[in-house]
Amino acid sequence: MIKLIGALCIFLACGFCGMEISKRMAERTKQLRLFIAALESLEAEIVYGHSLLHDASRRIASQLEGPVSNIFRFFSDKLVREETTAKNAWKESLDKYWKKSALKTAEYEILLQFGETLGRHDLEQQQKHIRLAITHLEREEKESYRRQTTYGKIANNFGFLSGLLVILLLI
């Protein structure tokens, strides 16, 4: 009886591990898409709305959810409250919420690079930099989606199967 319960535990634990890995893959794609949407909104706010950076960021934060929203909200607050540059405020916002997101170093570098240009250029240049960041993120998003579709299912099944394997070995 105890053997059976132990086997079930192993089976479920391995299964959930696999599911978690596959979920993280899906989550990364989702968050990348959110970031792309956020940057597109930012572009519209800046180019067509002539909004100030902190206003635009606050509005974007309220439209979105999850870590992406938190990053923009924190960034907006920092710009208003502290004496800092947009670049530093952006970096600090990324660092604060990065651990909680499913995003990877590649995106981090892109966004950091993008932060360097924030609020320092005229309209035309600013738009170009936003577009550039969006293009890079879209590339990552495609890659991430491909990984998710090919490896996501595998990870899911592999979890349960490896659980079975362990059980068989132990029995």
Binding site: I46, H50, L52, L53, T85, G119, L123, Q126
Partner: protein, 309 residues
């Protein structure tokens, strides 16, 4: 005053802490240049602070002025100044970028000149009896630069839009065409300086066009315009006067004769449109009213020079 200090980087603010409230009351300019000490002008005297401004501080200042959004300053960088909350103005100098031979923007800004806007509320009060007689007269304020023309115009706009109980003047619809953002000191289109409830401002709009826009769309009783002098201006003025709108304006010059000698103003002078001429000078400091003359150039205050301020 606090609004200006909010925009300064902490290191500069720290330096200026030694100024007491007497100094602050008379503060005229704060000049900040990269690699140079801070210069402060108080009531005509210059004072230097030993603190040398580095380029990071200057960038910080620009960030604060633009609220971290450089892209919103395009128009300001073309004109060379930024108007901030409170109507204060920050003049900029640095490397100029050209496009087709005209100024596109100033980049690499190395000098900032923060000019403190100071409202002189009530300075136009002594003039009311001369400028109002059941209705406002078409008035032109004449004076060389720095004689307080714009301050007087601003206070007149305040009185016209608020009305004046003592003289039984009702508040009237006042339209201000503020080409250089000097009269109303607008930030995001909202006047920062005190006016009455019935005031409408076209901020940063070329005068001639602005006057026509106001006439067409805002049905003003009184039109306030600063520094007329171009040909288009006088055409718009004629249009306004014939539409029954009162006009209060300023012009550079020392006497009425100067108005006749300006070709662009000749036609409106020949039509004898203005009913009151207020002549200012610096004889006893800015805002010395030398004379008030009516449309036949008769002196209404002969020989009595007085100074508001």
């Amino acid at each position: 005053m606090d609004t200006v200090f909010d925009f300064l980087p902490a290191s500069i603010r720290e330096q200026l802490k030694v100024l007491d409230h007497v100094d602050l009351e008379k503060l005229e300019e704060i000049r900040i240049r990269i690699g140079k000490p801070i210069e402060v002008n108080i009531a005509g005297y210059t004072r230097f602070f030993p603190f040398v401004v580095d380029s990071n501080t200057a960038i910080q200042l620009l960030n604060n002025l633009g609220k971290h959004s450089f892209y919103t300053l395009e128009e300001e960088l073309k004109r060379g100044y930024i108007t901030i909350d409170g109507g204060h103005r920050v003049g900029l100098a640095g490397k100029v970028i050209l496009e087709n031979g005209s100024v596109k923007a100033i980049r690499d800004i190395s000098s900032f000149n923060i000019r403190i806007a100071r409202e002189k509320i009530g300075i136009a009060n002594p003039l009311i009896p001369y400028l109002y007689d059941r209705r406002w007269h078409n008035t032109v304020i004449i004076g060389p630069p720095q004689t307080g023309k714009t301050s007087l115009l601003r206070d007149l706009a305040r009185i016209i839009s608020t009305g004046d109980k003592k003289h039984g003047i009702p508040p009237l619809k006042t339209a201000i065409v503020d080409e250089r953002s000097e009269i109303a000191g607008c930030v995001n289109g909202i006047p920062q300086l005190s006016f009455g409830p019935r005031v409408d401002v076209l901020d940063g709009c070329p005068k001639a066009e602005g006057m026509m826009m106001m006439i067409r769309s805002m049905s003003p009783d009184v039109l306030i315009v600063d520094e007329i002098g171009r040909k288009e201006d006088s055409e718009a003025i004629e249009e306004a006067i014939h539409a029954g709108i009162r006009l209060v304006t300023t012009v550079h010059g020392e006497s009425i004769d100067d108005l006749f000698s300006r070709p662009a103003l000749k036609s409106i002078m020949d039509q004898n449109i203005f009913e009151r001429y207020v002549i200012l000078s610096r004889q006893r400091g800015p805002g010395t009213v030398m004379a008030i003359q009516d449309r036949n150039f008769k002196h209404l205050r002969l020989g009595r020079v007085f100074q508001y301020d």
